[in-house]
């Protein structure tokens, strides 16, 4: 599969992405949730990077991306916060930044697009960054780990690296909105009919389950606004996945993970029990590449994935 890049990415891609591909050094933006309630995502990402032989250098002084929420109070703040992160990445010579959250991906890319498209916005950001001696020169590209796996490592290489195939485990992909939409911000694959996760599941020896919910919303961002809304959105999507034969779910987004993993039990009352364990993307890849299952934090999940893994003879 060839990646579809945005114009600004395409112009920069020739020297940057290929350089990271060769040096195997990437800037790494873990995001808040991987540092707070989903530490198992952070840990399994680092274990996966070791297996892949790539270096993920964490941008430790980076702030939150804005989480799609700060836009609601101010049109500029998310853009300038992310410009600060990009300035840090540039200063460290890490212009290829990898994220592990769909929401971070979408909002960091949106900010970058706004900055690269408008000199006025770039000047506004740099005027503020200048107060503490920082400057963003527009040289950073943000990609999700999923895209890096497919573009830089490659599905064929991944297939060769698999030491513990998933034994036909039926996995439903759950993309999470912000890694595919809006199309003019992400654009790496079709938002209406993405298939990167399916390709990855099959490369790992699993069977991808198709269902209409795979590109729908998990409800995470409105879980606090009105009780029960996220629960219903989770129940609706997981019902479709289960009815189409899924035994587990994989998601590139920790927010989706929290919603799907957390609310399924409560959703059972209206949507019927689904109990689908929800893997973080790097957990399942790291497992197939030989990272010991007990290091992946699977015991942290509310719907325990170890049961189906025992049934499929993936762990004993």
């Amino acid at each position: 599969m060839s990646a579809t890049l945005l114009p600004e990415d395409r112009a920069l891609d020739s020297h940057r992405a290929s350089r990271s591909r060769e040096t195997k050094r990437y800037g790494f933006f873990p995001g808040c949730v991987a540092k707070e309630s989903c530490k198992e995502l952070f840990n399994s990402t680092m274990l996966l990077a070791d297996k892949l032989g790539v270096e993920l250098i964490e941008l430790t002084a980076a702030s939150c991306c804005g989480a799609s929420v700060v836009n609601d109070v101010n049109r500029d703040v998310a853009r300038v916060l992310n410009a600060r992160t990009y300035a840090q990445a540039e200063a460290l010579g890490l212009d290829d930044v990898i994220t592990i959250c769909s929401t971070c991906t979408g909002h960091m890319r949106a900010a970058n697009k706004e900055l690269l498209e408008s000199e006025e916005r770039m000047d506004q950001a740099n005027a503020i960054l200048g107060k503490f001696g920082a400057k963003y020169n527009g040289g950073v590209m943000v990609r999700h780990l999923l895209w890096m796996l497919i573009d830089d490592i490659g599905l064929d290489n991944l297939r060769k690296m698999v030491v513990r195939p998933l034994n036909g485990l039926k996995v439903a992909p759950f993309y999470g909105c912000h890694i595919i939409r809006p199309e003019n911000v992400n654009g790496w694959e079709s938002a209406r009919n993405p298939h990167s996760l399916e390709d990855l599941i099959e490369a790992l020896g699993g069977e991808a389950v198709d269902y209409a919910g795979k590109t729908r919303c998990c409800g995470f961002h409105v879980q606090l606004e009105k009780d029960g809304i996220a629960t219903d959105m989770v129940g609706q999507n997981m019902r479709m996945a289960k009815d189409n034969g899924a035994e587990a779910v994989i998601t590139p987004c920790p927010l989706c993970h929290l919603a799907l993993d957390g609310y399924q039990q409560d959703a059972g009352a209206r949507w019927g029990r689904t109990d689908l364990p929800t893997f973080h993307l790097p957990q399942l890849v790291a497992y197939a590449l030989g990272v010991p299952a007990e290091k992946l934090g699977l015991n942290k999940h509310l719907v325990d994935p170890r049961e189906i893994m025992v049934q499929r003879e993936l762990i004993s």
Partner: protein, 320 residues
């Protein structure tokens, strides 16, 4: 000429209890639109196939339907872009609506949400009090033209996952249309309009961008954010969970550089609102704690957090 097989949802509420599907084959060039294909099927194969259409040019907004599971205007969707390898195209009525006959649905809930907006200019005085027209500067007009392109096709409403689980949500089109009047300098009911759309669950938008598929590029997703900013700027209905959530997220980022999960939950629901917290968090909170997955109570500020605070202050970002 190619064979196009339309896999059509068939249902007539007057006689059917359950829907069925018909496979209708037509000979036509692949370059025709899905609407043209349906017209051909109706004219040449089965005159009872029902769907709404009028302009055939993406202006009237009548022919929204699901094409291979994605809501689109049939007149703006080319067969060659959607036809599957086996030559079929699946055609269904829009989701989030009650089907009436085939692709025709009951649109009433959608129109009701428009009607609640009072979707007409409410100026502070009468036209007859003015000797000249009410002038709007080009800059002020620029804010409104995108939304004025809305053709009320309901594609965004059909795609909205929140509408699908909570029909009380106004939906993307109505919020975008509220924006059209909220930002109209001639309108005198700005705050009443913001309050009304807040009551219709403005803040229940899930940030999913499904409505970014709008065939007329109204971008309801961006207009929803604009209305939320207007609500915060004018301080309308600030004690709702939505604005509280947005502000506490901003506050924790300003304080720590991070989105501090525990503080966001307490700040959104209210730290002294014990019943609210129990209702929102039980039984999930204890279940997460049992697995060692509860968010940390305190979040350590990131290095150089002063820089983040400088950004918030330079932009005068509200945090309470």
């Amino acid at each position: 000429m190619a064979k196009i097989k339309l896999d059509i949802f068939r249902f007539d509420e007057a006689v059917d209890t359950v829907p069925h599907r018909d496979l209708v084959e037509i000979d036509a060039p692949e370059t025709i639109t899905v609407l043209d294909a349906l017209e051909t099927a109706k004219a040449e194969v089965d005159g009872s196939i029902s769907f709404r259409r009028s302009c055939r040019s993406a202006i009237c907004g009548s022919c929204s339907m699901n094409v291979n599971g994605v809501t689109s205007l049939a007149c703006k969707t080319n067969c060659k872009d959607v036809i599957k390898d086996d030559g079929t195209i699946a055609v269904d009525p829009m989701p989030n609506f009650q089907p009436m006959k085939d692709m025709v649905v009951h649109m009433d809930p959608f129109w009701d949400k428009y009607a609640r907006l009072k979707p007409y200019l409410q100026a502070k005085d009468k036209d007859s009090d003015h000797e000249t027209e009410r002038r709007v500067s080009p800059d002020d007009m620029k804010k409104l033209v995108d939304v004025a392109n809305c053709i009320m096709c309901a594609t965004c409403y059909a795609l909205c996952p929140v509408v699908s689980v909570d029909p009380a949500f106004a939906g993307p089109a109505a919020i975008a249309y509220a924006y059209r009047f909220i930002e109209d300098v001639r309108d005198a009911k700005r705050d009443e309009r913001i309050a009304q759309i807040s009551e219709d669950y403005l803040w229940l938008c899930a940030h999913c961008y499904a409505c970014s598929y709008c065939p007329k590029h109204v971008e309801p997703n961006n207009r929803i954010v604009d209305v939320k900013r207007a609500a915060i700027k004018d301080r309308v209905m600030m004690n709702e969970r939505g604005p509280r959530h947005a502000l506490v997220v901003s506050k924790t980022i300003k304080q720590t550089g991070m989105l501090a999960e525990t503080e966001v939950i307490l700040g959104t629901i209210g730290r002294f609102n014990v019943i609210g917290l129990v209702k929102a968090l039980a039984p999930l909170g204890p279940r997460m704690a049992l697995r060692g997955k509860q968010p940390p109570v305190f979040v350590k500020p990131i290095p150089k957090v002063d820089e983040v605070r400088t950004i918030f202050e330079a932009l005068e970002v509200p945090v309470s």
